[in-house]
Amino acid sequence: MIGLPAYLTLAALVFSIGLFGVLTRRNAVGILLGIELMLNAVNINLVAFARFSGNVTGLVFTLFTIAITVAEVAVGLAIVIAIFRVRRTVEADRLDLLRG
């Protein structure tokens, strides 16, 4: 039987990979994918805790998270497309409208 720490380790790894992707990818779509990974790491955590504590709240919460993730990706991609239309690029380095 695999214990809780193994699940948590997996989740941490996935989260770190996602964070790495968000920080290093130059492509906006790649950044979105990284965010997806981070969210799913959270989901793994939730499910693992739910399973080992015998409480279903975490499972229900995961369903909500997945739904929200989908919506978030939809909005994110829409923004990426909008940016592409205006700036003709999705390279994150070029998108510095917030520059001080």
């Binding site: 950044i31 994150a92 998108l95 510095d96 409208l97 917030l98 520059r99 001080g100």
Partner: protein
């Protein structure tokens, strides 16, 4: 309200109503002559009320609480009418009325709006002066004292487009303020010692006050500034930049006598401090002599009269200092009449000739006999020739000073009497007789200007005759040789002026050469103006420059350094904001990591 309070209150309120009306209703003020008529009507009614007060001999003391406090009011306002006030009320309203009528013709060429402004100031001045005269306490007196000073400033600077007038106004204001600082400190010290501003209460309590000499000296300083005593007399000659009627009203008959009036009013207080009284007498006599010598070399007709005013104020102060305040006050009243007369007559001459310089006049007797006659009447009164008003009051002053055993001041005043006759007849001979130098055809002044002149001249004669008939109070005690002496001195002065400027027997230049250093100093006003200018430039401007340097380089520098640091810091910090979301996320992640590490270590 009792009628006895109502009448003096009406005297005070009428000019105030006129002032408010003119100040608030702009179209009325801009109407010019109409504004003048409103002002004249108000002061005329006030004059009538003042006459009734005087004729009935009303004695009123009424106070109203102004600043209530536990254990009695801190300050109150009110009216104090006694024989002193009655006479002053009549003098102030009379001269105000005549001057305002005279101004209507004198300032005929002024634009209407400007004329309205003039009458607004005039009404305010009449109100302030009457309030000063009616004040029952030092606090109220001080407030009206300052108001009078403000009006003086406004009226000297009436032609404010002229730089000389603006400068003279500021000079008059500042120099009188110098004395007023002492005045207010003295009042407050007196209040803290006795707890009251009211004269009647002060007279009872003052004996117990310690340090009274200092307090009274400080209060006297106010009179030094206002009544142009040495060494603060320098503003009065410069104040002649104002219109001539203003000089007649404010700088001869009323405002400048406020200091003498104050000393007379507070005489029971001054009587407690003989040292200060002696100082007042000496300073007064010295001022009289100093100003008289300067009048002898002055070529500007108004400035001669101004120095003469300073000199006569010295007389009044000397009398007050000698303990003969009543004599000083009598001289104040008679001097108010004939000096206003002289100024108004001089104004008529200036109006006709268009210059102030007596050496560019001459032979005007034939062109303007009315003005010449009233001017000579005023001159005779000022020189102290019986039976004109000036003779009796001047003799009373001399007698009072003699009785006080102040031989130094007495000699100075006697010499001043000689000089007074000399410089006045000098002006008379140069201006009205001799060869004509005036350009164009001088003409007699319009009747609106002549009427006040004749009224004042007649009053000067009538008051003199009245004094001759009734005798002056305390006159009997004066030594018998005093009257011949003072007439003799006047005669010597007259003969000297006649010999020098009419007959030509003595060349003025030779006299000037004999009295070389004195002539030199008098022409330079004894260097006092230069001294003040130097002090002003050296100390005031130097100090201002120092402060300016500190402000510009230290205070502003600090602010500039701070702002520069902020700007540079901002420029540095903005480099962090790359505008790229990834960098920010990086920062957040790093921060979270740090927090986790810190939380682990802390635990």
């Amino acid at each position: 309200m009792a009628p006895s309070v109502g009448l003096p209150l009406a005297v005070l309120a009428l000019p105030f109503v006129a002032f408010v009306l003119l100040a608030v209703v702009a179209p009325l003020r801009r109407a010019g002559r109409l504004a003048g008529l409103v002002s004249i009507l108000a002061v005329g009614l006030a004059f009538a009320a003042a006459l009734i007060v005087w004729a009935r001999g009303l004695v009123v003391e009424a106070t109203w609480t102004w600043l209530p406090a536990d254990g009695g009011p801190i300050a109150s306002v009110g009216l104090l009418v006694d024989s002193l006030t009655q006479a002053m009320l009549v003098l102030v309203t009379l001269v105000s009325l005549l001057v305002q009528i005279y101004s209507l013709a004198y300032l005929h060429d002024e634009p209407p709006a400007s004329l309205g402004r003039y009458y607004t100031y005039q009404s305010l001045f009449a109100f302030s002066m009457l309030g000063l005269v009616l004040a029952p306490g030092f606090l109220q007196m001080f407030m009206f004292w300052e108001l009078v000073g403000l009006c003086s400033y406004l009226l000297i600077g009436y032609w404010y487009e002229r730089p000389a007038a603006a400068r003279a106004a500021v000079k008059a204001f500042w120099i009188t303020k110098l004395g007023d600082v002492g005045f207010i400190i003295g009042i407050v010290l007196l209040w803290s010692a006795t707890g009251t501003f009211e004269f009647t209460e002060l007279f009872e309590k003052a004996q117990a006050v310690s340090g009274l000499p200092l307090i009274m000296f400080l209060i006297y300083l106010g009179a030094v500034g206002k009544s142009a005593q040495f060494p603060l007399h320098v503003w009065l000659p410069d104040a002649m930049e104002g219109p001539t009627p203003v000089s007649a009203l404010i700088h001869a008959a009323t405002m400048v006598t406020a200091g003498v009036f104050m000393v007379t009013r507070a005489e029971p207080l001054f009587a407690l401090v003989p040292a200060v009284l002696t100082l007042i007498a000496w300073v007064g006599a010295f001022t009289a002599l100093l100003a008289a010598t300067m009048a002898c070399v002055e070529g500007d007709i108004k400035r001669v009269l101004a120095y003469s005013t300073v000199s006569q104020l010295g007389y009044m102060m000397a009398a007050a200092g000698a303990g003969a305040a009543q004599a000083g006050f009598l001289h104040l009243l008679t001097h108010g009449l004939f000096k206003a007369l002289l100024f108004l007559a001089a104004g008529a001459v200036i109006h006709a000739v268009g210059t102030n310089d007596i050496f560019r006049m001459g032979g005007l007797f034939r062109a303007m006999p009315h003005t010449a006659i009233v001017f000579i009447v005023g001159t005779l009164a000022l020189a102290g020739v019986p039976p004109l008003a000036g003779f009796f009051s001047k003799e009373a002053v001399l007698g009072g000073v003699w009785e006080a055993h102040l031989s130094g001041p007495f000699l100075m005043l006697a010499l001043t009497a000689l000089l007074t006759a000399f410089y006045m007849f000098r002006v008379v001979f140069i201006t009205f007789f001799g060869r004509a130098h005036a350009a164009g055809h001088p003409h007699e002044a319009p009747w609106l200007m002549r009427a006040p002149l004749w009224i004042l001249a007649l009053l000067t004669i009538l008051v003199g005759l009245r004094l001759a008939a009734s005798g002056v109070e305390g006159h009997e005690e004066a030594p018998g040789w005093l009257a011949p002496l003072s007439v003799g001195l006047a005669l010597v002065g007259f003969l000297l002026a006649w010999a020098m400027y009419q007959r030509g027997a003595i060349a003025p230049a030779r006299v000037a050469a004999v009295l070389g250093p004195l002539d030199f100093m008098a022409r330079r006003r004894y260097g006092l103006d230069a001294l003040y200018a130097g002090l002003y430039r050296g100390i005031m401007l130097g100090f201002s420059r120092l402060i300016g340097w500190i402000d510009r380089y230290l205070v502003d520098g600090l602010v500039n350094v701070l702002s520069a640091l902020t700007l540079r810091g901002g420029a540095r910090l903005r480099g962090i904001q790359s505008g790229q979301a990834q960098d920010y996320v990086y920062g957040v992640a790093f921060g979270v990591l740090l927090l986790i590490v810190w939380a682990q270590l802390w635990r």
